[in-house]
């Protein structure tokens, strides 16, 4: 079991190395991306949430991203600037999106680079970030109590969450699939009736398992990697969560496989407090810029190219 893992590790390290070749070190590399160029036009207007019919629809930006350090007075982004750092809730166990690389003790991944882009936009460099590692179950609460400014940790946009927090526009579309041991005959979630199926507690994925027609037994654990440990120890029969997360888990264990079609769509958005709707518009302006100037594609290729070619999901707005 160790040898294939070692090969997987070499592949992953190789990928990271290639990425570093493109971008330099994780800390400095992202600064080579195109900087924001336009004048401040984001109005600090608080907008009350509207009835949710499309959970991927966010608030339309009022213009391009303001220049770093030249932010609208009284806006939340100005407060962040005055504080000197943006506080981001992230994951450290989700390979490719947000994880602590033990080889260099640095946080890495697509989500981490998005946070660095946010720092780049606000401060002019990507160093003004305080990372707060959170579990999926904490994502909403840390926004509501103001512990963090943003949550960037593979957080699916749902109408129920829109009742408590706000989201940016969609920045990645994942789907829910199933991970089983290679020896398993299960081909999809429909083959797992009465079986123990694991997902992180407090996630949309766990709710989807609970509502699956064949009634698998949902098992909620703190983190996604806890599910992989329990699968390897034979204490659960399968893991079902976001396919991109499953791909990361499969990369860490050659004895498992991802099976079945997507049976639920999980659109990722950046979580933001409803008290800062102006900041939602600011972040959406930034995402528009990242889509338009090719940064999104660069980040995708850096971290997620093994998933196949992709383009950024189009932004949808409710106003």
């Amino acid at each position: 079991m160790r040898a294939p893992r070692a090969i997987a590790a070499v592949i992953l390290v190789g990928l990271a190395g290639t990425a570093c070749g493109l971008f330099g070190s994780p800390t400095t590399g992202v600064s080579s991306l195109p900087p924001p160029t336009t004048a401040p036009t984001v109005a600090p207007v608080a907008t009350s949430p509207q009835p949710c019919t499309d959970p991927t629809a966010s608030l339309r930006p009022t213009g391009p991203v303001p220049r770093a350090g030249d932010l609208p007075d009284g806006s939340f982004v100005q407060q962040i600037y005055n504080r000197g750092r943006v506080i981001a809730g992230i994951a450290q166990d989700t390979l490719m999106f947000g994880y602590l690389n033990p080889l260099d003790n640095q946080l890495e991944g697509f989500d981490i680079d998005l946070v660095r882009q946010l720092s780049q936009a606000i401060f002019g460099d990507d160093l003004h970030v305080e990372y707060r590692v959170i579990t999926p179950a904490q994502s909403v609460q840390v926004l509501r109590d103001g512990t963090v400014d943003v949550v960037v940790r593979t957080l699916p946009m749902t109408c129920s969450r829109w009742q408590q927090i706000a989201f940016s526009s969609e920045y990645f579309e994942a789907g829910q699939r199933v991970l089983v041991p290679k020896s398993s005959t299960a081909q999809s979630i429909d083959d797992l009736g009465k079986k123990r199926v694991c997902a992180a507690a407090g996630t949309t994925a766990l709710e989807n398992i609970a509502s699956a027609p064949k009634a698998p037994v949902p098992v909620g654990l703190t983190d996604q990697t806890d599910c992989l440990v329990q699968l390897e120890l034979g204490k659960v029969d399968a893991i079902s969560t976001d396919d991109v997360i499953l791909a990361g888990l499969a990369a860490q264990d050659p004895n498992v496989k991802v099976v079945g079609p997507r049976f639920a769509t999980l659109p990722y958005g950046i979580g933001i407090s409803q008290a800062h709707m102006d900041f939602v518009r600011y972040v959406n302006a930034l995402l528009e810029q990242l889509r338009a100037n090719g940064t999104w594609t660069l980040l995708y290729n850096r971290w997620l190219s093994q998933l196949g070619p992709a383009s950024p999901p189009p932004a949808r707005y409710r106003d």
Partner: protein
Amino acid sequence: MIAIAPPTAPRTLRDRAEHARRRSRTTPGHLQMLVYLIGATAAALFLIGTSTLVAAQRSVAGMRHETVPAIVGAQRIHATLADADRAEANAFLSGAIEAAGPHHQYEDDIAAAMRELEQAAEQAGGNAAVGRQIQVISVQVTQYTSLVDIARADNQQGFPVGAAYLRQASQLMHRPGDGILANVDQLGDLDAQDLGAENTTLVVTVGMLLLYGAVAVTVLALLVHSQRFLRERFRRRRNRRLLFATGILLLLAAMITSEAIFTTQTLVMAEGQHYNRLLNLWHIRSLVYDANGNESLSLIARGNGDAFDRTFQSNTARLANRPMTDDLVTASASGDVRFEGLLADELNASSGSEHDEAVAVLQAYRRFMGVDATVRARTQAGDHDSASRLALGTQPGQLGAAFAGLNTALGVTIDDAQAQFDRSVQLAEYSLIGFIALQLLTVVIVLQAYRGLKPRIDEYRA
């Protein structure tokens, strides 16, 4: 022709008693009876005294060589395993290219714990419950090391699942109720039951000493009666041999009484003070190990270590219920202990050089908590890398060095308390062995009484 005597009717018990009663009314018969009675009661005295002292000596020897070492051994296993978990958390915190020191410490701790478990299994002998418990712990430790091995392998390949395996391992170690450390504590409880049985034996021994005293009084009464009888019947002022036997009896009784008091005091001191201090100190050491391990696990969790932080707070609150300050340390050094907890218990229970050692432990704890506060402040400010470096650092002013200082201070105090306990119990044991030998004086009492009375009996035979 041989005349055959007519058969005599068998003598009944009543006949025999009547015969003895009639005979005891005669002077030689009475003297003969006194010889028998003194011999019988002295033999009873010898048997009661010897068996009581042997039982006490065995209990004390069992306490010294088996029970207390087993209980302290369980505490040592607890601390060693807690240290293994702490050391591995520190190794993990240092990254995939882990620092060599912490992982070597982990390996040494696991090896030491397994050795201790083997010794405990040998000492358990036929105690099935202890044997089963040791087996459960051994299997769990093997599971634990497997989880750590997987965690390290994943970590070294850059896989984040390694951290989840480490959490799983640590949970197996610390899980309340059926975790490894909980099972080690239950092993200690089983050994403590043996100590309870030994204490019960010692309580029974004290009861037996009352019986010993009653028999001794009977022998004394017989000797005094014999002396008076001889004075009245034979007009002799005193019988020197009876007087000598009486003196030896009084001496023996006095020595046994003083021995009982001395042994009781020594054991009360050993159990009530040194033994309790010893357990308390091992408990402190385990909590310090756990606290340091939880701090590292919290740092590994990078801002999501609330559960580890709560355990850290809980551990340190049991050591001292107030934040440690220089003022508290200074006041404690002069005997004014203004906080509660296990460290306060140690300060209150110690005196002289022990108290100096307890103050040294408190000072080291103060330094440890001081650096801990800095680590937490940096974590709070989001500076995890700097916090981790400070936590792992072994230079003066860094947490690794502060922990090592505290561990060393605790080690010195534990060694001292262990030595004091051993000295006390050893003294009681050797003293008991000496007094078992003194029980041979009852033979002298019987011989002297016999030789004192026999010439008078012979006068009637002549």
